[in-house]
Amino acid sequence: MLNRFRLEFPSRAENVSLARVTVAALASQLDPTIEELDDIKGAVSEAVTNGIIHGFGASPEGTIVVEAVLYGDAIEIYVEDGGKGIKDVPKAMEPEFSSDPERLGLGFSFMQSFMDSVQVDSAPGRGTRVIMRKQFAPRH
């Protein structure tokens, strides 16, 4: 492990950008490509938005915790909410499944496209934890 941080913030919409920019700043320490940074920002944005919208029903009263751990050639990102949880995780991860008609249901699908692995631990009433990993392309 090279470096890490843990960030805790209220489930407010403006904190989606706070989270993605902070994780991208940590990832920047490995000199990634612009595309790799864009992927990380996109994935964090989706995970944190899911926590706010689905975990806490868009209420700003919840708490989201983002942890990121930098290894020599990879980053692991944990996004955790203590919200209402997901009953059927495989179904929630299907593309275009959405519990809200105003939303697209592409969040998990984007996370999977942007990252090398995405794991979701959740249970009703116990919140949701998304664990994502991205391996950086060798640079030298």
């Binding site: 919409a13 920002k41 105003e102």
Partner: protein
Amino acid sequence: MLDLETVGEVLVAKLRGELDLKTAGELRQGLDRALDGFTVRHLVLDLENVSFMDSTGLGVVLGRYKRLAGAGGKLVVLGLQPPVRRVLDLSGVLRIVPEFNTLKQAVEALRRGEASA
């Protein structure tokens, strides 16, 4: 984050900044108010100054596409930055929303009824 201009029956919306949960609601309202208020049929989204878009921002784009399509109008885009293009491409939106290089080309194609993806 939003500048609006009409050219005949085309509404041109220039967006700025990052389209996510924080900005999507305001953008949706701004665009819908403009579409309600003018007798426009088509919408050009100029995304040149949009540096980031996630699925929430994409929902605003797709929602306006559906609204216009329901009324016989078209939505077209221009000025896609790489992260925005990636999201529009991954979601399949670029298969239904035509992309143009310049505003002039977009407006002319819409006026001639020749804008297709």
